[in-house]
């Protein structure tokens, strides 16, 4: 029996096992002790972010437009959910909230993965609060928090300017410091000034146990509320603009079809929307900006039914058409050529001065340099008779301005630069973004030969294949063809035209007030200056006044019932062709445009109104703008309902 050596081997083997355990114990408990001590500490401490209330938004008079209220919401704290209790928790929460277990599970998983909080029930009733408080053991990881919730006082007053809020998208998340649970500005001032409005979230440091239950609070860093943003928007003006646009749109629909119409594909002539801007020409402040139909930004906080969402979306109400809508400015653009004519002495062939008459007989027969015969028809078939430059603008005679374009085109290789007209347009801010402090502004377009040839190469399906021609310049001069501008661009150009040549960078925010009382100004900023003779400005103001007040003015009828101070109003109508009349569809569809200026002797306001598919500018846009001008000059008592004007370009 050789038990001896076998037991010996066994003893050595067992001793080795014990030695291994002891060495391992040593290496963990003595060599690497600090590391594990830290790990043990970190087990116990969890950080939870507390959202900061977003800053208020007020109008220039201090009136509150966007504020916060406190809502009691049930949140799941991802950091506090214990893996073991998760299934039970999901079941309890599903029963409690009435949501499906799958939804809850997804939220809980998400919260855990991010170690962050996710709202499970947005707005708890008093009974729900009591229930949660009485059953903490069934809802480990769920907390009731007072959360600031955005509320837009007077929701529909200025949604285009205020914008709305929402969860960050993939792009937002790439920015530093943005968490998926944050709420960000998605449009308007909420977006543009998100950095100052959002504030800084606070943190609470908790000591917890393994089941995620909070033992005590170790520290708290309070959230820093967002700063208050004060807009240049003047609520009473904004209010009048809103109601005027609404009345104008309703009236335009009534005119299209008695009893009104609903915009849809089968009815292309039904007016789609009305957009307006009121600009202070002395400093570029936006006093009012809106489009109708509008939306209530509160729906981005409180939610909205799917049908309602689909309806709003189909009307594209969430876009700010004052800076995103692109329209042919049509005859309202004639002031560009008017100023160029005065400044550069460009008049129809045979005319040498601005007050020399030219016979406008309604039909323009001419030949381009290449000898091709052309026939152009004025919007007023009978013509306007003998008129000078001033009469041409007042009555909006196409022929006179076509002659100017022809003069430039024919003299393009000697007397004039070929894109002289476009240069003047660009001086007044067309063909580039105005730089307003709002997101998503579009730049519009002033076409020229370079653009045209590029377009022929890149998007041949959108332009014809013959070369750039005199007819293109003749289209530009009356603001048609490929000319596109936003309502704001149009307003800002007129502001520069009537204020002596200062092109402002428009602004909707006047200043920002931080929570500690510091005021950060957003002063007016002159983007550029256009050198103009004083006489040019005087003549323009006079002629604009005559558009409204003169015997042949295209807005004369529209302003017939204006009331007092009508002599202080100037303006220009425009009718932008959208769909040409054809044999099977005899009704031409036009955008109605009006730009108003007041007081014309010392301009302060420019009002732009565009009614998409509204028809003639003189007939529907001018009366709509008139109501706003009534308010600006005569106060609330001076305002009358929008009526129709005369069918005029």
């Amino acid at each position: 029996m050789n038990l001896g050596w076998r037991l010996g081997v066994l003893a050595v083997a067992f001793a080795t096992l014990f030695a291994v355990l002891t060495l391992r114990l040593w290496s963990i408990q003595v060599t690497a002790a600090t590391e594990y001590e830290e790990a043990a500490q970190n087990n116990l401490v969890k950080f939870v972010d507390t959202p900061a209330p977003r800053g208020q938004i007020r109008d220039i008079n201090g009136m509150l437009l966007a504020d916060n209220r406190n809502a009691r919401v049930a949140v799941i704290e991802g950091a506090l959910v214990s893996p073991a209790g998760q299934d039970q928790l999901v079941r309890n929460l599903a029963a409690f909230s009435g949501r499906t277990a799958a939804e809850i599970e997804e939220d809980v998983e998400e919260a855990r993965r991010r170690g962050d909080r996710i709202v499970i029930v947005p707005e708890l009733t008093a009974e729900q609060v009591v229930f949660l408080a009485e059953h903490p053991e069934d809802f480990v990881g769920v907390r009731i928090v007072e959360t600031p919730v955005r509320v837009y006082v007077n929701g529909e007053l200025a949604p285009d300017v205020l914008g709305y809020i929402g969860r960050p998208d993939a792009d937002d998340l790439e920015k530093p410091g943005i968490k998926p649970t944050d709420v960000l500005g998605k449009a308007g001032v909420e977006r543009e000034y998100d950095g100052v409005i959002r504030g800084k979230s606070g943190r609470i440091k908790y000591r917890i146990n393994a089941r995620g239950e909070i033992l005590d609070q170790l520290g708290e860093q309070l959230p820093t509320p967002g700063s208050t943003v004060i807009l240049t928007i003047d609520s009473p003006i904004q209010e009048v603009l809103n109601t005027s646009l609404a009345q104008g749109l309703t009236l335009a629909r009534e005119l299209h079809q008695p009893g009104g119409c609903i915009p849809r594909e089968q009815d292309p002539g039904c007016p789609v929307r009305a957009t307006g801007v009121v600009l202070d020409v002395t400093d570029g402040s936006v006093l009012a900006m809106s489009s109708v139909p509008a939306f209530d930004p509160n729906i981005f906080v409180d939610g909205v039914s799917e049908q309602e969402w689909a309806r709003l979306n189909s009307q594209a109400v969430f876009n700010n058409f004052a800076i995103q809508g692109l329209y042919a400015p049509a005859s309202a653009f004639k002031t560009v050529a008017y100023i160029a004519a005065l400044e550069e002495s460009i008049f129809p062939a045979g005319v040498t001065a601005d007050n020399e008459t030219y016979t406008c007989d309604g039909l323009l027969e001419f030949r381009f340099n290449d000898g091709s015969p052309q026939l152009y028809q004025d919007w007023l078939a009978a013509g306007h008779g003998p008129i000078d430059l001033h009469g041409g603008l007042q009555a909006s005679c196409d022929l006179y301005f076509w002659e100017i374009a022809l003069k430039i085109w024919n003299g393009r290789n000697s007397e004039f630069e070929q894109d002289l007209l476009q240069q003047w347009a660009r001086k007044f801010g067309f063909d580039k973004t105005s730089g307003i402090d709002l997101p998503f502004e579009r730049r519009g377009l002033i076409p020229d030969e370079d653009w045209f040839t590029t377009a022929q190469e890149e998007t041949p399906q959108l332009v014809r294949d013959t070369p750039w021609a005199g007819g293109d310049v003749m289209n530009i001069v009356i603001g048609q063809g490929s000319v596109l501008a936003t309502p704001l661009q149009l307003a800002n150009a007129y502001a520069a035209m009537v204020n002596g040549g200062t092109v402002w960078q428009p602004r909707v925010v006047d200043r920002v007030e931080t929570p500690d009382g510091t005021v950060l100004d957003n002063p007016p900023f002159a983007a550029s200056r256009v050198e103009l003779n004083e006489r040019t400005g005087e003549l323009l103001r006079f002629d604009l006044q005559q558009v409204v007040n003169g015997p042949s003015g295209t807005a004369r009828t529209a302003f017939a019932n204006f009331g007092e101070n009508i002599e202080l109003v100037g303006g220009k109508t425009g009718t932008g062709e959208v769909i040409k009349a054809t044999a099977e569809n005899p009704d031409e569809v036009d955008n109605a445009i009006f730009v108003g200026v007041a007081p014309i002797n010392d301009p302060k306001y420019v009002v732009v109104v565009i009614i998409e598919r509204g028809g003639s500018g003189g007939r529907i846009a001018a009366p709509t703008a008139a109501r706003v001008l009534q308010f600006l000059l005569n106060g609330p008592e001076g305002v009358t309902d929008v009526g129709t004007g005369e069918e005029a370009d």
Binding site: F14, Q29, A33
Partner: protein, 386 residues
């Protein structure tokens, strides 16, 4: 083996009785571990029970009952003579296998494993007693075989171990199966297998394990425990969470530990370590008593194992020797696998720590085994002179 002088006088019954002295180097460490176990079970279970809203002392009170019963079993089994035991071995083995079958038939589901038989208020885990039964049966086999082990003996051994092992595998309880494998290999080795026979057994066991794995007979959670361990600290929220928390608990204890009931022994007090009063009891020792406490505990086990090997060396017959070796192997395997698991050297297997872990059947079964081995020492050959 030390030679002793030949006894000349006949040994009377009375003298025999008087010579039954306990081995204090075995009994005292056993009692020390049991006492420490009571304290540790309390520190590990009280805060958790409080959290669950039940009486904090309930777990430890249950444990104390088992410790008292277990100590009684230890004393009684220490007094059982080798011949009596040998006679009881085969019936005990048969009873155990039958009980395992019973577990499968009526045992109830518990954490994915059927291990319990409910007898009134008592939950019995036959697999714990089966460990002792297999040791006894193997000891009988090896004693009959003599020093030259034939392949037929090996075949019988495989059947003896295999019968309960298969039943346990069906429960399924991987840890206990490994206990059987380890203990039987050690016993066969000491019992006199040739190295070739030993190599064959080990190889066969390995091949059959792989085969079982391949046909998918091994449960998914068992694979997961092993693979999550091999992945390292990647996913602390799943199977590896237990492991990591236990390592943190021990590591944060440092050299002297945080002290019993210490406020900052947070891994224990705040219940970060799962199943701490049973399988992970060593983490409570490690966090609260540090390296000093942990190594003393290991030392106490080492001392018991040493005494068991000494008992084996002095066993009066081959059966007694093999019983002592088997119990020693059982103890070593449990300690190494359990402590190794809490130190994150070995996957989580669910083997408790002898004499420390809460868990009634196991404490009683281990006391029984220790008592039988103790009896071997007390009846050692030749009994030293008074």
């Amino acid at each position: 083996m030390a030679l002793t002088t030949r006894r000349t006088e006949p040994v009377t019954i009375l003298q025999r009785e008087r010579s039954l002295r306990p081995d204090l180097f075995l009994v005292l460490p056993y009692l020390a571990l049991a006492a420490l176990g009571i304290v540790m079970v309390y520190t590990a279970s009280a805060p958790r029970n409080e959290l669950l809203g039940i009486d904090p002392g309930s777990t430890v009170r249950r444990h104390i009952v088992f410790v008292v019963v277990g100590f009684g079993v230890f004393i009684v089994s220490s007094l059982v003579g080798g011949r009596t035991l040998r006679g009881l071995s085969i019936p005990f083995y048969a009873g155990s296998v039958a009980a395992l079958g019973l577990v499968l038939a009526i045992g109830r589901e518990l954490k994915g494993a059927q291990r319990w038989i409910q007898i009134g208020p008592l939950q019995l885990q036959p697999s714990e007693f089966a460990k002792i039964a297999v040791i006894l049966a193997l000891a009988v086999l090896l004693a009959n075989a003599g020093s030259a082990l034939k392949w037929t003996h090996i075949a019988v051994a495989v059947v003896l171990v295999g019968a309960p092992a298969v039943l346990i595998f069906l429960q399924p309880d991987l840890g206990t199966m490994l206990v059987f494998a380890f203990v039987s290999v050690i016993m066969l080795f000491v019992g006199g297998t040739t190295l070739r026979q030993l190599a064959f057994i080990v190889l066969a066991a390995f091949v059959s394990a792989v085969a079982l794995f391949q046909v998918g007979a091994i449960e998914q959670y068992q694979i997961q425990r092993v693979t999550s361990f091999l992945d390292g600290g990647a996913d602390r929220e799943n199977a590896n969470y237990n492991h990591l928390q236990s390592q943190i608990a021990i590591g944060s204890g440092g050299f002297f530990g945080k002290g019993l009931f210490a406020e900052d022994a947070t891994q224990t007090n705040l219940s970060f370590v799962p199943e701490q009063s049973s399988d992970f009891i060593f983490t409570a020792v490690g966090e609260q008593l540090g390296f000093v406490g942990g190594s003393i505990v290991l030392g106490l086990y080492a001392m018991i194992v040493w005494r068991l090997l000494v008992a084996a060396a002095n066993g009066r017959d081959r059966f007694s020797q093999m019983v002592a070796v088997g119990i020693a192997a059982l103890l070593v395997f449990h300690v190494f696998v359990n402590v190794g698991m809490t130190l994150r050297m070995i996957p989580v297997t669910g083997l408790p720590l002898p004499f420390l872990s809460a868990g009634g059947t196991f404490f009683i079964a281990m006391s029984l085994g220790l008592g039988l081995a103790h009896s071997v020492w007390m009846r050692r050959s030749p009994v030293p002179d008074e």
